[in-house]
């Protein structure tokens, strides 16, 4: 397609004019590095983010592999203890800040939000591009820190170790976190304004896809929580450089204050990770049951409720920190409360499946896996929110298993499901369904083998962040490491076949899965302007009578 005519069309696209040739989609609208690196098209920016977060994930996975290799044997024999501290820290930093928090919002959110609401782009395309560059700047500082010796404080940077005793690269990583926080804030801001002001005619709030409600709630959390971690990191840096005294007990400072400020963001941050995932799952469950989500309004409001209540519970990370017992009681009670809207969602998904026309394509396998694993992860969170039990299992592998169930069994499963579901829309190609199912199965089996033993280990007393352990824990650790290898293969396969499909995959039609949603009423991939004509919406959400039957089914 690279003729002189299309070059001038390409130039027109870069200047954001109307597309002159509607057979061009956003991928081949223009060519060359500059047209991608300086793009203002939300769909291209989503692809840029896809590359970045995939890199971050792979780097975080390398650190995870190193951890699991060390833990194959009880003795600390694969690396030094100080190195191990750096490895698990960097695993956490890469995965939490550079993968889990941005992944679904910046990849799927950026791609889909304008499409789902019938808009041509987000409200602020240049801020969108800026937020990707900020992500890269943040990861650059972190990579620099890793390359020049790493950081060993744990991804939680607790003081006074991080401010007074650690000799590792705390400040560069802190700077990286600060910068990526700003990147996150710009994304959230963009989504909020776009959803408020740029919905297509007729698209009232209660006709929106639940993914949009989820992204809206997520963006609220981003705007309210992220600035607090930003200022906390600034205080951390000032304390470390100038020894101002904020967290130094010898001057009257309080180390626990750091934990309060840190977790005021970092707990809502886990809702930044899970809300978009739940939004994806709503779309998948509905499409592959061919049925409107049961209790649509309840699910929508549950997203807002999770966002709100999520800000009230951070002290459950501080139960044994020296926080007052009375605060602990209050936070424990509030923690029980936050489980309620999540449970509402799970019940509504189950009710949607009931008497639905269920088909088990790869995205649906991920969605079903999400529900099971999220329930386990969420319930163990409630266990941890119980003061007495928390005293026993805090800082053990029980906690590690809990958060991996929700973050990996939850968020990453949903992310994978969403990538598969929207891959035809994003790339114009179908992924190979057979290999999709194989990978989903490997991921599910590998995941459970990796992390279920860790519940047992934690309950039996194995502490987290330890590089050696008593010999009686070895069997469970070996099972866990074996599971991790299977999990790794499960993640590598999609990486391979997604790339394969871009060249050799079957071409996708507009709506291969028979889904509702405006994104399925334009070509796969969409043109740069998303829609030839801005749609006017006169139907309710998840109205399957108005869409064709799925073309893709079974293997």
């Amino acid at each position: 397609m690279s003729t002189i005519a299309s070059d001038s069309v390409a130039a027109a696209h870069e200047l954001d004019h109307e597309p002159l040739d509607e057979s061009l989609d956003y991928i081949n609208a223009s060519y060359g590095m500059r047209s991608w690196l300086l793009t203002l098209d939300h769909k291209r920016i989503a692809i840029l983010y896809l590359c970045s977060v995939t890199f971050a994930f792979l780097l975080g996975a390398v650190f995870a592999a190193m951890v699991r290799i060390e833990l194959l044997t009880p003795a600390g024999d694969f690396m030094q203890a100080e190195t191990y501290n750096k490895v698990f820290t960097m695993h956490g930093v890469m995965m939490v800040f550079f993968f889990l928090i941005p992944a679904i919002p910046a990849v799927l959110g950026n791609f889909l939000v304008p499409l789902m609401i019938g808009a041509k782009d987000l409200a602020f395309p240049r801020l969108n591009l800026a937020s990707w560059y900020l992500y890269n700047l943040g990861i650059a500082f972190t990579l620099y820190a890793i390359a020049t010796g790493g950081i060993d404080t744990g991804w939680t940077f607790y003081v006074p170790y991080s401010t007074q005793w650690s000799t590792s690269n705390v400040i560069p990583v802190g700077l990286g976190v600060f910068i990526i926080g700003f990147s996150s804030i710009l994304t959230g801001l963009n989504f909020l304004v776009t959803i408020h002001r740029m919905r297509a005619p007729g698209l009232t709030w209660f006709r929106l896809p639940l993914f949009i409600w989820a992204m809206y709630a997520t963006s609220l959390v981003i705007m309210l929580g992220t600035p607090v971690i930003a200022i906390t990191v600034v205080l951390l840096a000032l304390e470390r450089i100038f020894h101002m005294g904020f967290f130094d007990a010898s001057l009257g400072g309080d180390p626990v204050l750091f934990q309060h400020l840190f977790w005021f963001y970092s707990h809502p941050a886990v809702y930044i990770m899970i809300l978009p995932a739940m939004g994806v799952v709503s779309e998948l469950i509905s499409t592959f049951s061919r049925k409107r989500i049961f209790g649509y309004e309840f699910v929508a409001f549950a997203s807002l409720a999770i966002a709100l209540i999520g800000f009230l519970v951070w002290g459950h990370h501080l139960f044994v920190s020296g926080q007052s017992v009375y605060a602990g009681l209050i936070f424990s009670a509030l923690t029980m409360l936050v489980a309620v809207p999540s449970a509402v969602k799970v019940f509504n998904w189950m009710a949607t499946l009931y008497e639905g026309s269920v088909s088990l394509e790869t995205p649906m396998l991920y969605a079903l896996g999400f529900i099971g694993l999220f329930v386990i992860g969420g319930l163990t969170g409630v266990f941890l929110g119980t003061l007495g039990l928390d005293v026993h299992v805090t800082d053990t592998y029980f906690v590690v298993a809990h958060f991996h169930y929700v973050m990996v069994g939850g968020t990453i499963m949903a992310y994978m499901g969403g990538l598969h579901f929207w891959w035809p829309k994003i790339s114009g190609k179908l992924y190979p369904e057979f290999w999709g199912k194989i990978s989903a199965a490997l991921i599910f089996i590998g995941f459970n083998l990796t992390f279920f033993p860790q519940f047992v280990l934690g309950y039996l007393g194995m502490p987290r962040r330890y590089w050696s352990y008593p010999p009686e824990f070895q069997v469970l650790n070996v099972l866990s490491s074996a599971g991790a290898s299977i999990l790794g293969i499960g993640y590598l396969l999609p990486l391979i076949y997604f790339i394969w499909s871009m060249r050799y995959g079957k071409d996708a039609t507009e709506n291969p899965f028979g889904a509702t949603g405006l994104e399925w009423r334009t070509s796969s991939p969409p043109p740069t302007e998303n829609f030839a004509v801005t749609p006017t919406v006169t139907w309710e959400a998840y109205d399957y009578s108005s869409v064709p039957m799925p073309e893709v089914s079974g293997g």
């Binding site: 309060h260 007052s324 009375y326």
Partner: protein
């Protein structure tokens, strides 16, 4: 878009009068003087609440009139109160910790 009866100009914007701005400015200066005078009186534990009350009043004037919130949509009117509410959440739950540390825990 405007929630009071002030006239909108041709572009749908509310144009406030400079006289109003000067009046608000005078009120803000008065509030500042009041803050200083009140600080030198001894109201005991009430000194801080009084100072904060005056500061909140001044901030409200700036938000409503200089920042045009009085003439803005309901959504914009919700913004600052929402931010304050979440800040209040941070402060009050934190207070549960710090106040609670001073209370006895029966053995």
């Amino acid at each position: 878009m405007s929630s009071d009866h002030s006239p909108l100009d041709d572009h749908g914007q509310h144009v406030a009068s400079p006289k109003l701005y000067v009046a608000i400015f005078a009120a803000l200066l008065l509030g500042t003087a009041l803050t200083v005078v009140a600080a030198y009186q001894d109201f005991g534990h009430l000194n801080l609440p009084i100072a904060m009350l005056i500061a909140c009043a001044k901030a409200t004037l700036v938000v409503l009139f200089f920042m045009h919130v009085k003439y803005s949509t309901p959504l914009v009117k919700l913004m600052m109160p929402t931010a304050i509410v979440f800040l209040a959440v941070l402060l009050s739950l934190l207070a549960c910790d710090y106040l609670g540390r001073m209370m006895p825990v029966t053995p």
